[in-house]
């Protein structure tokens, strides 16, 4: 009995140290997505059980090796203990309970990391030996670098043109193989970047000769930076005017209320605005032409878009702050978002 008490205490002490060692050893890369947070929580539960069972077996083993070793000159055999059915049942049923508990946790975590946001930003990922390419259908942009806005779920729709590749950014944790074979083999991955920064996407499925070097840059920026990136990919190539307008939109804070990717915010989005029929408060409607936009900048409360509040933009007093030229450039930019 004394043996069991000593071993029990040692197991507890060992579990404490091993668990803390694992948790504090910086075993995982930076946490840069919502999915990573959920996964890392599960890792911590796993570290605990690993620490406990490792300690349980190793402490019993080491204790036996030290205490029950054959002393010099000792003859004969050990105690004739053939087994203990109750004990066997205990150490079958308890681990069974634990693994079922862990599997339930695992399923719940999976549910969390696969939660769908209907407003997710869709990106088509195309993997080919040994490069990555990213298409943003919303913006008509194709890029070799993966730019992502922070705190917004992205839905990656991935396909390969040749062999199996695998999408993995360690900081995001989640991983998904990318399959060849056409539309039926497009696979989806959802992730929500939570930290601004630069990361590397590395192919995780052996794909032939240059597999090692199949790497792409991943840039997570705030919404403004993302918009800037989109513009850089499109607008500025077309016209300096549009580019300047985009610059003012950022500098004067327009885009903190008016998104350019189609989502609703404090003010109406600019995407697809130009030329559309704008419903106004009171039931009338107006075509969003250059005059309407110019008027909305100079006198925001003159016509209020249905569902939005007056007074917010007029308080900014843009009529005094923007030159006529700047306003024309902004209009050109909004036009480009048709």
């Amino acid at each position: 009995m004394v043996h069991f008490v000593i071993v029990g205490i040692l197991v507890i002490i060992s579990t404490y140290f091993v668990f803390n060692g694992l948790v504090n050893a910086d075993l995982l890369p930076e946490q840069a997505s919502l999915q990573a947070e959920a996964i890392d929580e599960l890792f911590n539960v796993e570290w605990f059980f690993i620490a406990f069972f490792f300690s349980l077996i190793v402490v019993f083993l080491l204790y036996s090796i030290v205490v029950f070793r054959r002393k010099p000159g000792e003859e004969g055999d050990g105690d004739h203990i053939e087994g203990n059915t109750k004990l066997e049942i205990v150490w079958t049923v308890i681990p069974l309970g634990i693994v079922i508990y862990l599997a339930i946790l695992g399923a719940q975590t999976l549910g969390k990391i696969e939660a769908r946001d209907p407003n997710a930003l869709e990106i088509n990922v195309v993997a080919s030996r040994w490069t990555w390419s990213f298409e943003y259908p919303e913006y008509g942009v194709t890029s070799a670098e993966l730019a992502l806005p922070v705190d917004r779920q992205v839905l990656l729709r991935m396909r390969s043109t040749d062999v199996i590749h695998s999408f993995w950014v360690p900081e995001f944790r989640v991983k998904q193989d990318v399959l060849p074979g056409g539309e039926a083999f497009v696979r989806e991955l959802r992730l929500t970047p939570s930290e601004i920064g630069e990361y590397k996407l590395r192919c995780a499925e052996l794909c032939g000769l240059q597999h090692t070097g199949m790497i792409a840059n991943v840039v997570v920026t705030d919404a403004f930076g993302f918009n800037a990136w989109v513009m850089e990919q499109t607008g500025c190539e077309d016209s300096e005017e549009v580019c300047a307008g985009f610059q003012w939109a950022g500098e004067y804070g327009c885009t903190s209320c008016h998104t350019i990717d189609g989502t609703a915010s404090i003010g109406p989005t600019w995407r697809g605005l130009f030329g559309s029929n704008v419903p106004l408060e009171g039931g009338a409607s107006v075509v969003a032409d250059e005059n309407f936009i110019r008027e909305s900048i100079l006198d925001p409360d003159a016509k209020i878009h249905e569902g939005y509040l007056p007074g917010i933009m007029s308080a900014q007093n843009f009529a005094d702050r923007l030159s006529a030229e700047q306003i024309e450039e902004l209009i050109a930019f909004i036009k480009s978002l048709e």
């Binding site: 055999d77 203990i81 087994g83 066997e88 079958t92 681990p95 599997a103 199996i164």
Partner: protein, 616 residues
């Protein structure tokens, strides 16, 4: 002495000749079909296939059956020719299970050294970031070959232990089908030659898993890899049938299933897996061979195929296969702990059934290798549950081992050190399994060095350490001589800490983002020091294994004579002289008690001379 008297030499000549004939045959068929005679791939594959079959004929593994087919008499007396040196038996077809066991064992060790050498080469490349001396195609080939040759080595090692030990332990004089047994060994040899020939045919950069479509695009070497595995797999199936029949039919009188030495249970569970699952890896590889040669688009999604289909077929074997690798080793642990703790195996029935439990559950978990593969997402959760269940029977084994040594009188010669080392290493392998089994954490861990560390722990803990323990334990039984304890202990104390360091660091860099199967890594990741440590530890393991090889070779020649029951074991093979006489037991033995009643005064397991006792 005539070289042609060696079956091995005749087999190799036949393989060379057969390869040429096979190539000529394929070219003739092509000409008859109006195709240009020369097309490298079908011609070489046809030649390789015929060559491997020719080896089996040349070595003489099917000679007796051929004679029977022609209506000729065959001899049932296989007493070796006393005029020839004893070693010549090992280079010929021989029907003695002990000879075949040692043939398996030596071949396994040779493959272990070859595959280990591959690892040393690419570990040197990985010691620091940046390309040092290996071009990526060579790196990929060596990395792939390291995996598959090690698997071959392990399968042969499993064959060695089962073949040598099972008939001895159940009191039989040989296996049920000695000719089949010999064939099962010899088909490995052309398989190994094909496997290694891939090095000279462009290599293959697919890893040992050979996933298409990557393997469809790979160099010709990949075909040799597939064919080689095909023949080694055939060996597994034939060997398994033989073992099952032997264990079911040939136990000594009185040896009920619950009185078999526990290793026999493990061998039985292993054989059941090998017998029922190996076909699937053969099938999956065969489909890629056909896709490459005849453009059958099994795995081409644009032509009605499915790239994931291969992975299901492949893992349906290859997951149970890891239990083929580890169950015999776990059996060795359960077999040796009672001997060195001088106590009964704790919960014999539970340990026996846990092997069967692992073998059974092992068939329902294959898709846990495919959580990120893009298979139907709803499959992931059921496979997560079934995977986690494996932990339960595995846990029973650990608890039983602890129960066995608890309150024992433990001594620590080399085999015991390796057994205890196996428990610790396999424990780490086991405990690092559930994070892979849970889908959510698997998404991070899949295809990283974490997995590399995890399975090296399971393979070292479940096979390498127990295999080495078995070699040290039964070496005196095989050779009649003692090995050097000093060198044995040196081997252990080099290998055990080096392995722990190697695998723990592998798992750490894997968690931090180190992918598997890459020939170089970004210095910005800061893994240079870790990789240097892994490489140095790997070399220490290599050196320690060479020490063992030297120890065994030297001891086999000049070691001290081993007489009597060296380990004071109750198992029947230790009650007869070493090395074991030609026909094992002079007279049939009878089992009259339980195998592990250490510490029970007056208890008897085996009656070595039942006719004498009944006369009394």
């Amino acid at each position: 002495m005539n070289l042609l008297s060696s079956g091995l030499v005749r087999g190799l000549l036949a393989q060379t000749l057969g390869t040429s004939v096979g190539m000529a045959f394929v070219m003739a068929v092509r000409v008859a079909l109006g195709l240009p005679a020369w097309n490298r791939e079908p011609v070489v594959v046809g030649g390789a296939l015929v060559g491997a079959i020719a080896f089996v004929f040349g070595v003489g593994a099917v000679s007796d059956w051929m004679k029977l087919a022609r209506g000729e008499q065959i001899s049932d007396d296989h007493t070796p020719d006393p005029d020839k040196p004893a070693w010549i038996r090992y280079f010929n077809v021989d029907y003695d299970h002990k000879v075949i066991g040692i043939q398996y064992g030596v071949t396994s060790m040779i493959l272990l050294l070859v595959a280990g050498l591959f690892a040393m080469i690419f570990r040197t490349e990985l010691a620091k970031s940046g390309m040092q001396f290996l071009p990526p195609e060579v790196y990929n080939t060596l990395m792939s070959l390291h995996g598959i040759v090690m698997i071959g080595s392990i399968l042969l090692g499993v064959g060695a232990m089962s073949n040598y030990l099972v008939p001895l332990m159940i009191g039989a004089n040989d296996m049920a089908f000695p000719r089949l047994n010999s064939l099962a060994f010899w088909v490995n040899v052309p398989g190994i030659i094909l496997l290694l020939s891939s090095l000279f045919l462009g290599g293959f950069d697919t890893g040992w898993t050979g996933y298409p479509p990557n393997s469809v695009y790979a160099a010709l070497g990949v075909q040799m890899f597939f064919l080689g595995v095909y023949f080694i797999g055939l060996s597994s199936i034939l060997g398994s049938i033989n073992l099952i029949v032997t264990i079911v039919r040939m136990r000594a009188p009185g040896m009920t299933y619950m009185r078999m030495p526990i290793f026999v249970w493990a061998a039985l569970a292993t054989a059941l897996i090998g017998f029922t699952a190996t076909q699937l890896i053969g099938l999956s590889f065969q489909m890629v061979i056909l896709e490459r040669i005849f453009d059958m688009s099994f795995f081409d999604g644009t032509d009605g195929g499915n790239p994931i289909l291969f992975q299901h077929l492949f893992w349906f074997y290859s997951h149970p296969a890891v239990y083929v690798f580890v169950l015999p080793g776990l059996g060795i642990i359960s077999e040796l702990l009672p001997v060195f703790a001088r106590k009964p195996l704790f919960g014999y029935k539970w340990v026996a059934f846990s092997s069967m439990g692992i073998a059974l559950v092992g068939f329902f978990v294959w898709a846990h290798h495919m959580f990120t593969s893009g298979m139907a997402t709803y499959l992931r959760v059921p496979f997560m549950y079934s995977t986690m269940l494996v932990a339960v029977p595995t846990g029973v084994k650990f608890f039983s081992w602890v129960g066995t040594i608890w309150r024992g009188k433990i001594s620590f010669p080399t085999p015991m050190l390796f057994t205890l080392g196996a428990v610790v290493v396999f424990l780490i392998g086991g405990l690092t399994g559930p994070p892979n089994g849970l889908v959510a954490t698997n998404l991070h861990l899949h295809d990283t060095y974490w997995v590399v560390g995890h399975f090296h722990n399971t393979m070292f803990g479940g096979f390498i350490f127990p295999f080495f323990a078995a070699i040290y334990f039964w070496f005196p039984k095989m050779s009649g001589r003692k090995y050097s304890e000093t060198l044995g202990k040196l081997h252990f104390w080099l290998m055990f800490p080096a392995f722990l360091i190697m695998s723990l660091v592998q798992m750490r860099v894997g968690l931090l983002g180190m992918r598997r199967r890459i020939s170089d890594y970004d210095p910005a990741l800061g893994f240079d020091d870790s990789h240097m440590v892994i490489t140095i530890a790997g070399f220490v393991i290599g050196v320690s294994v060479l020490i063992m090889v030297w120890n065994l070779i030297r001891s086999a020649r000049r070691g001290e004579q081993a007489t009597g029951n060296l380990w004071n074991s109750r198992s029947p093979e230790w009650q007869i002289p070493s090395p074991v006489p030609l026909h094992n037991y002079e007279q049939p033995i009878a089992v009259v008690g339980k195998p592990y009643d250490y510490g029970l005064p007056g208890s008897v397991y085996v009656d070595m001379n039942p006719s004498a006792s009944s006369d009394k």
